[in-house]
């Protein structure tokens, strides 16, 4: 089968013909139809410090996808050939104390597809049946293929109290854009989005942001919308140093800052004025709650109030991986996906 392979410890991907994966008795084989390209894939492509310390080539890249079940192992009872599915890409041990107490998303033994084992930028992928998530008939493969980052957005937003809240979202990459739609669907009183890129601000408005402004105009916007008090909830989606400080400055006292964007370097925090005297709560968001978040994604899609499709701005075949990576790096893209079948 065709697959995008990280072949060696150097920049780049290679499109290769590799064997269709075999499956264990508790796994299923999925024919991949759509796959999302993520910033993590860019890190692996560029072979940066994080990637080179974590990944062991060769392996098939990619962790966001949807497809059709091609075959199932003999111990699998609840997934069937032909099922329309996506999957959680974090494969956890299921037996450690964290997994057993509702914290599988931070299981210390997590292995991620496309990072620690073969991924989904390929015609087929093998997945443990326990990680498979069924798609509603009404859900397209386009949307199924990006359940993973939609899940990040849902995890970030809905672990705060959104109905009626003024929400500030710093960073309008794909997850930030999804979060705008999630917060609108969940009844936020006002969603204010911020980014340095005008195309992304346009996408933010398309996704329902009540206002979408440059960081330079953000303080005035938030303070005007909140009588000078600050936002009830901030979703920090950029990982950029000044945005993190804005998040802490523009959340109201007693408010919540949900941090998903991953800063590339340490940030100097004045805990006294930025955290403690404000009495705020900061939550570090990793992955998706397994599987509460997935259940919420399905249910939000069913409500009809949340449509993630405008975020998808670019589509490529696997053969054009370089173009896909370039689109993300341009900073102009919403979500970039591969059309595989």
């Amino acid at each position: 089968m065709k697959a995008l392979v990280k072949e060696k410890a150097a920049p780049g991907f290679a499109l290769r013909d590799v064997p269709v994966p075999s499956i264990r008795d508790d796994e299923v084989l999925i024919r991949v139809i759509r796959a999302g390209v993520c910033g993590t894939d860019v890190h692996i492509y560029e072979w940066d410090k994080w990637a080179s310390s974590r990944c062991k080539p060769p392996f098939v890249v990619g962790h966001e996808f949807a497809g059709e079940v091609a075959s199932v192992g003999k111990l699998v009872t609840d997934v069937h050939e032909g099922d329309r599915v996506t999957a959680e890409g974090h494969i956890v041990d299921g037996r450690c104390m964290l997994c057993r107490t509702g914290n599988a998303h931070v299981c210390p033994h997590t292995r991620i597809i496309g990072v620690d084992r073969d991924g989904c930028f390929a015609e087929y992928i093998a997945m443990p049946a326990s990680n498979v998530w069924h798609l509603d008939d009404a859900t397209s493969y386009d949307v199924g293929g990006i359940h993973d980052p939609i899940g990040n957005a849902v995890h970030t937003a809905l672990t705060a109290d959104i109905p009626g809240a003024v929400v500030l979202i710093t960073g309008c990459g794909p997850i930030g854009l999804f979060a705008i739609g999630v917060c609108r669907a969940a009844g936020a009183a006002r969603v204010i989005a911020s980014d340095v890129n005008d195309r992304r601000l346009d996408l933010a408005r398309t996704m329902g942001a009540h206002s979408a402004v440059h960081p330079a105009d953000l303080r005035a916007e938030v303070m005007s919308a909140t009588g000078g008090l600050g936002a009830d909830v901030v979703l920090e989606m950029s990982g950029v140093d000044p945005a993190v400080h804005q998040a802490l400055a523009l959340v109201r006292v007693g408010g919540h800052v949900q941090m998903l964007g991953i800063p590339a370097a340490p940030i100097e925090i004045d805990f006294a004025s930025e955290v403690i005297f404000k009495g705020i709560t900061i939550y570090g968001v990793v992955g998706r709650r397994m599987y509460d978040t997935w259940h919420q994604v399905t249910r939000l899609l069913r409500s009809g109030e949340f449509d993630p499709t405008p975020v998808i701005t670019h589509r490529f075949p696997l053969e054009e991986a370089e173009a896909a990576i370039a689109a993300i790096k341009s900073g102009d893209a919403g979500k970039v996906i591969f059309e595989i079948a």
Copy 2:
């Protein structure tokens, strides 16, 4: 001034000319513009068992209203003449342990306007400044006058986890109808409403219910919408014996039943099968959280996603109190209001 007065321990109200109330230093005088008529007012009108044990005539009736501040006591600093306001009708002591720990809504020393002291079916009412709630300029007096029952709906709904949930609402009186709109605004995946009255079912659909059915069809509707599992959240708004049993039967295991409707008589509950083996949580809803609920009401109105106005079906002058009471008793009405100024 003109006022609807409960004059004596017998059925009926009397329209009387009474003195404009004087205010204490920490009170404000409000010129009433709109007032909502509530089931409680019907109980007082009819002088039923509850009313005759609680109320001490003579007193001015009515507890839901909005209006304009006419004058303020000399200790009042944050309410001003001309302010557009509504008010919490529960006057609490503010000093007991419950008030001091966020439970003022169940303060044992609560006195309710229109029940325990003079109310708002009058041209003017005196209110403690601490109970006054300012209206946004964009909020009409119509909507301001029904903040109290909207608050009941918000308290009932938003103390459960609504975004993404399948919500069943049993009983489509005004508060049930408001709750439909609140749950839609807060991103419920599906809102199923039930009532015995076709006009109310029509109003339920107008307010956004995905389906609105007779109790006889409710089980099939809920089970079909939830794969046989049951609703995540049930808002019991009827107080009717069979509806309470349906609420308990149709909530999923581990789900939440919020009880606002007040049964007139005891109900036989099989705790084993209806509560314990299902692992559910039941919450008794009284009044509005002070003032978290009010803040949520304001913010939901600001979101533009929640419009309560279709619930208002009848408008009367104070002179037509009999007609207002009759409209409620017919079972066909949504919200009935007095236009006072």
Copy 3:
């Protein structure tokens, strides 16, 4: 091996020699050392209405136990021969929406050992590895054998907010007695226990109840301890009609009633005065949170602040099952256990 068997649809147990169970690849075989006798076992012994509608003889009885792992299936990686273990007796499907979202304790596909499949009143039992819970070296098999009902007590108590609370526990059977110790360990300001049986009241005091009184004296005791307000939290452990009404009457407004005791018949509830106007929350407790509760049990035992051993009042060999059942039925017993090896 020796086993207590429910042989047919009639009262009684039979001590029989049966084959040692074989295990599947994902199961472990456990040599049973201690087993707890539960009210459920009495229902099965007596073959009452519930038992005869639920159980299908023949099967080995018993669901509370601890022992030593004798052998493990070839897919089992985290349980080893010789491990000291107990186990959750609810075998769930692990794949339904409830299991996947932290609600396995109400999985609709639950099968219970000793009820729906062979149990632990035997020299050996087969258990899925996923249900096994390791015991600390410092935890005796006596205590390991009663982790199941200790877990019920922990689930009931710690899903409320205990530190600093005035807690009322109605019913001093074994789980009520454990709950007294749990609440003391968790910093309850005052634990008031109630039962009709003097021996149980003595055990309640031994377990740390600040006061232990007859139901007739309970109102005075609670009101005196709370300035007339009522208990912050009530753990209803009796399932008896008047105790349920006392629970609702003696919880303070805005308080929590955790219901574990299973009433044998419907109870008439005046929702208006007993639930709604009080603004209380009722939680139906079934089984143990999987595996949050088990983790809490282990950690509470490690704290050294909770010692359940005084609750164990009777010990029998399997041969004296009749005496064990009789001890429970007498109403005087604390926890009754079998010493099997």
Copy 4:
């Protein structure tokens, strides 16, 4: 009356004879019997950057105290002459959105006694009646006088989930020491305390810490106690840069870090590895929840499981303010108090 006065914008306090304060109609006059000396008082004494930017001499210093009510304003109904009381030192407006929604502890209009208006290092202090907290008869003035910092400890600890948790407390100043006792009373499985000062480590053991170690030995201690996982909850009580990093390093994934210690300078945080990938929650603790925390303090004291008195190591008359300040600056002291009457 005698009072310790910050007379001018320079280091030092002056013992002066000043008029007994007059009270407003809604205030009470309290005869001060005990007062606690706090790090904040040291900042004011030394006239550091924070103090010189915040405070406006002259004013009476001190914000922790207990005493006897000497007289009450004519609007005061629930405090009486002779009552044994302490008081919340944060005087809030009570009317802003934060105060009205349970967040008075972060009211932007807060004025603090001994900082923004006259304080309690004096024979008498005037306090709004709404800030007064009654002491149980069984509570000594010694303990009443330090309810404020005990409240900080309770706020820090009990906003996390303590029963059964492994708790790490970094910093054994008075509030850290109180927190040890609070966590023990609330059923922590293990309390590990850390400080650089051996006397404070001794006090930590006296207060019930299962282990009390130097920062250099802390990692080994925590990892050994948690099977390499890390602490469930960390209470950061030191405000010291390396302790903040240890707090983030030694909390388990998915755990909670409560930050009360106030760093004097910004700290470089690697959000990726220290916060986000760990999925932790950070809560900035300011003051005490009004008045939930106070209620918890009273109830914990009533439980008999929490005794703060061993933390009091030094007692001085007002005349020896220099010695009191020196004792705190030595780093060896537990709690330092003034005996005023």
